[in-house]
C-alpha cells in the first residue's frame, strides 16, 4: 500500500452570504457537501467539474488557506486542523500550490529570485534548507529557465514562462504534493502542452504528486492517474483515468464527455446538458443532479445516492450506475 499524501474526510464548507434583509435569515452557500478523497503518492488526482462545483474551494481547503466547516484534511498523515500556527508554517513546505493566473499570482514588484525564494523565506529560521539561493537556482533550472532570469521581473516573461516561475516557486521546498488550480487554462494552447509536459517530468524527477483541478478533461487525461468528478460540492464519480475514460458510469460524467468537441465529429448534434446547475443555497433532498439527468427516476428525487463501489477502484454515486 502506497503512502497517502492527501486524505479528506467528509469535508463540508459553507459560506454565509451577506444579509439581504433584516428580517430574513442570511442565505448559506453549500460549497462542499461531504468530500472524501485519497491521493496515493505517485498517483496524481485530477478533479473535474463545471464552474461552481466546489473545485477551487476544495483546493483552498487542502492548502489550509481556508478552514472547513466540518470534516478533516490529512496531509502525509498530519491532520491540518490539529496543527498549531507554527507547525502549519513548517508543514507548508510539504504541500504547495500553483495558481491559475500566472499574471496575478506573481508580485510585479519582486524579482524572480525573491518570488521563488519566498517559500523558503517563510520557513521558520533554522528550518531553511541549507543554501537557500542554491535551491532557488536549482528550481529555476528544473523548470527550464536560465540563471540570468533570476534578477528579472515578472513582466519580462511570457505567460508560459510566468507559469514556469510559479511552478519553480512551488517546487523549491521539495514538496510531496502540489495542488494546481487550473494551471494551464490561462495559457495559449500551444504553451499548455509545454507546461503539462514539464509538470509530468517534475513528477518523476522530484517525486511530486499532483492534485490537478481543471474543467478540461484533456488536461486531466494527460497528467493524472486518478480522476474525481465533482458536481455541486460532491464527488459523483471517482476512478482511475483508464477506467473513467473507458467506462464513465455516472450520467453527469457521460454528459461531460459528450460535451467535449471532437475533431471529425462534423455537425453531429451533441446532446447539450439541459436545465440549470442546481441551486447552491438549498440542500437537495435527492440526487443533486436529478433535475438535469436524462435517466432520472422517482427514486432519484427522494434518496441521496451514496458514493458506492461499482467496480474494482471505481466509485460512483448514482442509484442506477
Amino acid at each position: 500500500m502506497a503512502e497517502i499524501v492527501l486524505r479528506t474526510r467528509d469535508l463540508h464548507r459553507q459560506f454565509v452570504l451577506p444579509r439581504e434583509s433584516l428580517f430574513r435569515r442570511p442565505e448559506t452557500v453549500f460549497a462542499l457537501n461531504g468530500v472524501d478523497l485519497e491521493i496515493e503518492a505517485g498517483r496524481s488526482l485530477g478533479v473535474v467539474g463545471e464552474s461552481g462545483c466546489g473545485k477551487s474551494t476544495l483546493a483552498r481547503l487542502c492548502m489550509a488557506l481556508d478552514r472547513p466547516t466540518s470534516g478533516g484534511i490529512e496531509i502525509l498523515g498530519q491532520d491540518l486542523n490539529k496543527l498549531s500556527a507554527r507547525e502549519l508554517r513548517r508543514a507548508r513546505a510539504r504541500f504547495q500550490m500553483v495558481f491559475q493566473d500566472p499574471y496575478g499570482s506573481l508580485d510585479p514588484r519582486h524579482t524572480v529570485r525573491r518570488i521563488v525564494g519566498e517559500t523558503l523565506d517563510a520557513l521558520p529560521a533554522g528550518e531553511r534548507a541549507a543554501g537557500g539561493d542554491d535551491a532557488v537556482a536549482k528550481a529555476i533550472d528544473a523548470v527550464g529557465l536560465r540563471a540570468a532570469d533570476l534578477d528579472k521581473y515578472p513582466h519580462e516573461f511570457s505567460g508560459g514562462q510566468r507559469q514556469r516561475i510559479a511552478i519553480a516557486r512551488a517546487l523549491v521546498t521539495r514538496p510531496r504534493l502540489i495542488v494546481a488550480d487550473e494551471p494551464v487554462s490561462a495559457l495559449d494552447v500551444s504553451v499548455q502542452a509545454q507546461v503539462l509536459n514539464l509538470m509530468q517530468d517534475l513528477a518523476q524527477e522530484y517525486g511530486v504528486t499532483y492534485m490537478l483541478i481543471s474543467h478540461d478533461l484533456g488536461v486531466v487525461d494527460y497528467v493524472c492517474d486518478q480522476v474525481a468528478v465533482m458536481y455541486l460540492g460532491r464527488v459523483v464519480e471517482q476512478a482511475s483515468r483508464t477506467q473513467l475514460f473507458a467506462k464513465p458510469a455516472h450520467p453527469y460524467t457521460r454528459a461531460l464527455f459528450d460535451a467535449v468537441p471532437k475533431i471529425g465529429a462534423g455537425r453531429r448534434k451533441r446532446p447539450a446538458l439541459g436545465g440549470q446547475i442546481g441551486s447552491q443555497t438549498q440542500r437537495h433532498g435527492g440526487c443533486a443532479f436529478a433535475d438535469r439527468c436524462t435517466h432520472v427516476q422517482s427514486r432519484c428525487r427522494e434518496e441521496i445516492p451514496s458514493l458506492r463501489k461499482i467496480d474494482n477502484g471505481h466509485m460512483a454515486s448514482c442509484h442506477y450506475a
Binding site: 507548508r92 504547495q96 500550490m97
Partner: protein
C-alpha cells in the same frame, strides 16, 4: 490570449524607470507643477540664508510703496519688503505642510494597512473613528485646539495632521484591500507568510504610488488650510511671516492698495496649483493603463 499577453507586458514595461522619466518629461501639466513647486522650495531655501530685506524689519517711512527696483513687490503698511515676506512665508507653508502630511501619513497609513490586514471588527472600529474624525472640519479642530492651548502654529499643524490621518487611512485601506485580494497574496499565504510579512512585503510596495499621490495633494490642501487658519488668526502668529496673515492684514487696504493682497494671494494659488498638478501628473504616470494611451 496572445494579445492579452503583449498588452499586459507593455503596460508593465511602461512602469520601469527610464521610461517613467521620459514620459514625465512629456507630461506638460506635471512639468509645470514641478517648476512651480520647485520655485517655491527654492525661494524658501534661499530665504534661510538671504532675503532682499529683512522680512520683519519695520520702516514706517517706506510704508505702502509700489513695486520698485529696491522693493520688487513693494512694501506693506509697516514698510516691510513684501518679496522678503513672501520668501520667508514659503518656509512656514512648507514646514506646516511637511509636518502635517508626515504626521497624517505615518499614522494614517499604519491604520489603513492594519484595517485591511485584519478586516472584521478591527477594520470597523478604525473606519468609524476615522468617519467621526472626518466629520470635524480642519478649521473646527484648529479652533478647538486653540481654545484649549491658545493660538499658534503648532496647533495648526496638529489640527491638519489629525485631519490627514483619516484621509490617509481611508485611501490606504481601500487600496490595500484590493491588494489583499490579489492572487500573489494568496500565494504568499500558501508559502506560510504571516499578515505582517505580507503587508510589508507585498501590500505596501504595491500601493506606494497611491500614498505618494495622496501626499502631494494633501500637501497642497495643507498649504491652503494653513493660510486659512493664519488668516483667521489661529495659525502662525506675528512676527512669523505667513501668506495667510499677509492676506488678512492687506484686507484693510484692498480698495486703495489692492496690489498688497495680490502677492500673497498669487503665492498661495501658484504653490497649491503646482502641487496639485504634480499630484495629478503622478497619478497619470504611475497608472500603466493611462501610460499606454499617452
Amino acid at each position: 490570449m496572445a494579445q492579452t499577453e503583449t498588452v499586459t507586458t507593455e503596460a508593465s514595461v511602461a512602469a520601469t524607470k527610464p521610461d517613467f522619466i521620459h514620459r514625465a518629461l512629456r507630461h506638460r501639466a506635471f512639468m509645470i507643477g514641478l517648476v512651480l513647486t520647485g520655485t517655491m522650495i527654492f525661494l524658501a531655501l534661499l530665504s534661510l540664508f538671504w532675503t532682499p530685506h529683512s522680512p520683519t524689519e519695520i520702516v514706517i517711512s517706506q510704508k505702502l510703496k509700489p513695486p520698485s527696483m529696491s522693493h520688487w513687490f513693494g512694501t506693506d503698511q509697516f514698510g516691510r519688503d513684501i518679496l522678503s515676506m513672501i520668501m520667508a512665508g514659503a518656509q512656514t507653508s512648507i514646514v506646516v505642510g511637511l509636518i502635517a502630511v508626515s504626521l497624517g501619513a505615518v499614522i494614517g497609513v499604519s491604520l489603513g494597512l492594519w484595517a485591511a490586514a485584519r478586516r472584521g471588527w478591527t477594520e470597523d472600529a478604525i473606519m468609524r473613528v476615522s468617519d467621526l474624525n472626518m466629520a470635524f472640519p480642519v478649521i473646527l479642530i484648529a479652533i478647538l485646539l486653540t481654545a484649549g492651548w491658545g493660538p499658534g502654529i503648532t496647533n495648526a499643524i496638529l489640527a491638519l495632521g489629525i485631519y490627514n490621518i483619516s484621509v490617509f487611512a481611508r485611501q490606504v485601506r481601500g487600496a490595500a484591500i484590493g491588494m489583499w485580494e490579489r492572487e500573489f497574496v494568496l500565494a504568499a499565504r500558501a508559502a506560510g507568510k504571516g499578515d505582517v510579512a505580507i503587508t510589508f512585503g507585498h501590500v505596501l510596495p504595491n500601493i506606494i504610488s497611491v500614498i505618494v499621490v495622496q501626499a502631494t495633494i494633501s500637501f497642497a490642501i495643507a498649504i491652503l488650510a494653513e493660510a486659512a487658519l493664519s488668516y483667521l488668526g489661529v495659525g502662525s502668529q506675528p512676527p512669523d511671516p505667513s501668506w495667510g496673515r499677509m492676506l488678512a492684514e492687506s484686507q484693510k487696504y484692498i480698495f486703495f492698495k489692492p496690489v498688497i493682497a495680490v502677492w500673497p494671494g498669487l503665492a498661495i494659488v501658484l504653490s497649491v496649483l503646482g502641487l496639485n498638478l504634480i499630484g495629478d501628473g503622478l497619478r497619470d504616470l504611475v497608472d500603466p493603463r493611462l501610460a499606454r494611451r499617452r
